[in-house]
């Protein structure tokens, strides 16, 4: 323990030496911090010495010098960490649900961010400096807000990557916006996140509307002709859970179906915490839909399909990658999962079909992920986690040249990378302030996946699809 402590201190002293030769670069904040701690240290030391020598009249000069020396050393040691933080690495905050009910996907997403960070650090970092993640665990919205606060005020980060789940993101982004800290949302898809006109919130992945539109379009154009139906005769049902994710996606689905003039025969809302959905399943069965569009999480999607099976109710289901596309889904149903579709994050991304640099990056990511996860193929969640961090490290930060929120923001808004040249099959172009969905990456795209022989295959969009639609029997 002592040894470790000693090492840490010497390391800080070294940092200090390097920095003092470069005094021009010393940050304003650092000076404030230094002075504050120095003054505090002197006062503390004085009080202590006063108490110690309370009976002996005035302090001798020797003692005073000794006090001053100790205080100085103490102050330098304290500021060491601040110096280290300010000048030699990029410190980026992450807020993810690493424990609690959302932990499953939160951890997968964080793994993606971590691997992206390792990759960029192994290449020598961003502009010659390594990236260090300051991670925070946010199991629920309250924690997301308080952790965002802690990262900003105590850890002094000026850029945060988050948050996996929409409800957490909605809470954390409010704090970041108030403190004027750059917030990069890499997975939460609720349209509301970028729909509030926030200045510092950017989303790298698609939003719920983009995904929902694609689901409805695919149902109308991709599936309807194959089951010999047209827009007039096709019967759609929309089912969604009632948190931010489900509500936003459900709204997108309803809007799009209305716009295309499709016939929605049932619309059901429920809580993802429900332990029984048989009433809803019966209602759907009575409505006789051809296709069910479902925005569900994993637990309730398993329950929904189980109870549909129990009540002998069959329909073509397009869910989302949050539910039906999750690997746990196929574990629960085995062969029965075949034919179920999931809109959202493109699975596998059909890495082989990507272009030059994107393919190289994605393959490297897959390789590292497999190495650290017993050969398991990355979950779609890990892919978007990786993509978000990669966009920050490779496109936004080099252009901004610093982690100053204002500069990051300007850099992000000025980027225009066409589709297929960014990361995965996405491009990068954020909606400008004042536009609808300010901060949304307009060149991100969702896909439609389908379980085929126990594997999640991408069937839409065509250009990166790894398989064709097969209709469930």
């Amino acid at each position: 323990m002592n040894f470790l402590n000693f090492q840490r201190r010497t390391q800080h002293f070294k940092q200090y030496q390097i920095i003092t030769t470069n005094t021009i670069k010393i940050h304003r904040q650092f000076i404030c911090e230094f002075n504050f701690r120095l003054v505090l240290g002197v006062i503390m030391r004085y009080i202590v010495s006063k108490i110690c020598w309370s009976g002996g009249g005035t302090m001798s000069k020797k003692t005073l010098y000794r006090c001053a020396a100790v205080t100085a050393v103490f102050a330098i040691w304290l500021t060491g960490s601040v110096l280290y933080a300010q000048e030699n690495v990029w410190r980026i905050g992450t807020i993810m649900p690493l424990s609690g009910p959302l932990a499953k996907n939160g951890i997968k997403n964080f793994d993606g961010v971590k691997i992206a960070t390792d990759m960029v650090n192994d290449e020598g970092g961003v502009l010659g400096k390594k990236v260090v993640l300051v991670s925070a665990d946010a199991p629920d919205p309250q924690a997301a807000a308080s952790e965002a606060n802690r990262l900003i005020t105590n850890e002094k980060v000026t850029a945060i990557i988050g948050t996996q789940a929409s409800t957490l993101s909605m809470a954390a982004t409010v704090v970041a916006e108030k403190a004027q800290v750059f917030y990069l949302e890499n997975e939460g898809i609720s349209a509301g996140i970028t729909g509030r006109g926030f200045k510092y919130t950017f989303r790298t992945t698609f939003d719920s509307d983009m995904m929902a539109y694609q689901m409805v379009d695919f149902a109308a154009e991709g599936i309807a002709p194959k089951i010999k139906k047209n827009a007039k005769t096709l019967r759609l049902a929309i089912v969604h859970e009632d948190s931010a994710f489900g509500t936003a996606t459900g709204k997108g689905l309803t809007d799009r179906a209305k716009a295309l003039g499709l016939n929605v025969v049932a619309a059901e809302v429920y809580s993802a915490k429900s332990v029984d959905l048989s009433g809803m399943v019966m209602k759907l069965r009575q409505a006789k839909p051809d296709i069910i569009l479902a925005a569900q999480y994993i637990n309730d999607s398993i329950l929904f399909h189980r109870q549909a099976k129990e009540l002998k109710f069959k329909a073509i289901v397009i869910g989302t990658t949050a539910g039906q596309g999750n690997p746990d889904f196929v574990q629960a149903f085995g062969k029965d999962a075949d034919g179920v579709m999931a809109g959202g994050i493109p699975s596998e991304i059909s890495v082989e079909r990507l272009q030059a640099q994107q393919k190289k990056d994605a393959l490297e990511f897959v390789k590292r992920y497999k190495a650290s996860h017993n050969g398991e193929y990355p979950n779609p969640t890990s892919f978007v986690g990786f993509a978000g961090a990669w966009i920050l490290y490779k496109f936004i930060m080099p252009k901004a040249g610093s982690l100053d929120a204002e500069k990051l923001r300007e850099a992000a808004l000025s980027i225009d990378v066409p589709k297929g040249k960014g990361v995965l099959n996405w491009g990068i172009k954020f909606a400008k302030p004042g536009e609808k969905n300010a901060g949304q990456n307009l060149y991100a795209s969702a896909g439609i996946n389908q379980w085929q022989n126990g594997e999640l295959k991408l069937i839409y969009p065509k250009e990166i699809a790894s398989s064709d639609l097969t209709l469930p029997k």
Binding site: V275, D276, L277, E310, A332
Partner: protein, 308 residues
């Protein structure tokens, strides 16, 4: 109204109620005898599910067969929990018991999360999840109705277990001792009853029933470290509605809640079903504050005074 639909909803509701009832018996037993509200109830439920899952996963033991291993294992867990956590709080304030069981719940959840991750694990057991089709019954105007085997097993077991417990508490010597202890702890002590032994037995039995219920519903629900959260609220409702401490009450109120839930979610929408069963809950509590089968208020007051 369509007869088939009503019959089907009724069957679904009763089977769901069976699951609620099965899960609540352990909770109500522990409360009835020991006056300990076990807030870690859902976690023991979860442990039962996990044990069954691992037995299936690693040794391919059928979940219904593995109850033979599950029961002694959970009994042991119950005993250890009693000695380490519950026993020191017996006779101390209710607050201490709440703190210890709530704390226990958090500890179990997060330990499980640490070791077994937050994955949603479920088993695929086709004979237990496929629908059994009955009918049609032209005489009643009822078309085919579906019954799920694993729910049917859970339901029948809830009925059998509650009947067995009722008889056990009513007629056996141990049952009589347990009832005597629950009626008046001090008097029982004076009569030479080994209270510690009774508490130990009751707590372990309560945990066994809870773990068993968890194991039996594994073919229907997937297990994750927070599965207890989803189920425990409704089980508390069931127990309070049935009268805290009454095993038969738990079964009957479980069935009531199940049927109300399914019907209201069909007619009023899935999102409104909680409103309806909580309305039923409040209505019953207004009319009978101690629940359907609970002791009358005066008796309860006397009892509490006696304890204090």
């Amino acid at each position: 109204m369509d007869h088939t639909l009503i019959v089907q909803l009724l069957i679904s509701g009763i089977l769901l109620g069976g699951i609620y009832a099965l899960g609540s018996i352990g909770l109500t037993l522990i409360f009835g005898v020991m006056k300990v509200v076990n807030f870690a109830h859902g976690e023991f439920f979860m442990l039962g599910m996990y044990l069954t899952y691992w037995l299936f996963h690693y040794f391919q033991i059928d979940p219904y067969l593995s109850t033979l291993i599950l029961v002694p294992a959970v009994f042991l867990i119950g005993l250890v929990t009693y000695y380490v956590f519950i026993r020191p709080t017996i006779g101390s304030s209710v607050l201490a018991q709440i703190f210890i069981t709530v704390g226990l719940s958090t500890i179990i959840q997060n330990t499980v999360l640490l070791f077994w991750s937050a994955d949603f694990r479920s088993i695929s057991l086709s004979y237990a999840t496929d629908a059994m089709v009955f009918g049609p019954f032209p005489a009643l105007g009822v078309d085919e109705v579906m019954v799920n085997p694993s729910r049917l097993i859970a339901f029948s077991l809830a009925i059998c277990l509650s009947a067995a417990f009722y008889l056990f508490l009513r007629f056996s010597y141990t049952g009589k001792i347990i009832r005597a202890t629950s009626q008046d702890r001090s008097a029982a002590l004076l009569m030479g009853i080994n209270i510690d032994k009774i508490y130990k037995l009751t707590f372990a039995m309560g945990i066994v029933l809870t773990g068993l219920a968890g194991g039996l519903i594994l073919p229907i629900y997937s297990v994750h470290p927070f599965v207890g959260f989803d189920l425990v609220l409704i089980m508390f409702v069931v127990v309070v509605l049935g009268g805290m401490g009454s095993v038969v009450g738990a079964v009957i109120s479980g069935l009531i809640i199940g049927v109300v839930e399914v019907f209201s979610s069909y007619w009023l929408g899935q999102e409104n079903k909680q409103v309806i069963y909580f309305l039923v809950f409040i209505a019953v509590l207004v009319l009978r504050p101690s629940g359907l089968f609970g002791l009358k208020e005066e008796e309860e007051v006397e009892r509490i005074e006696a304890i204090e």
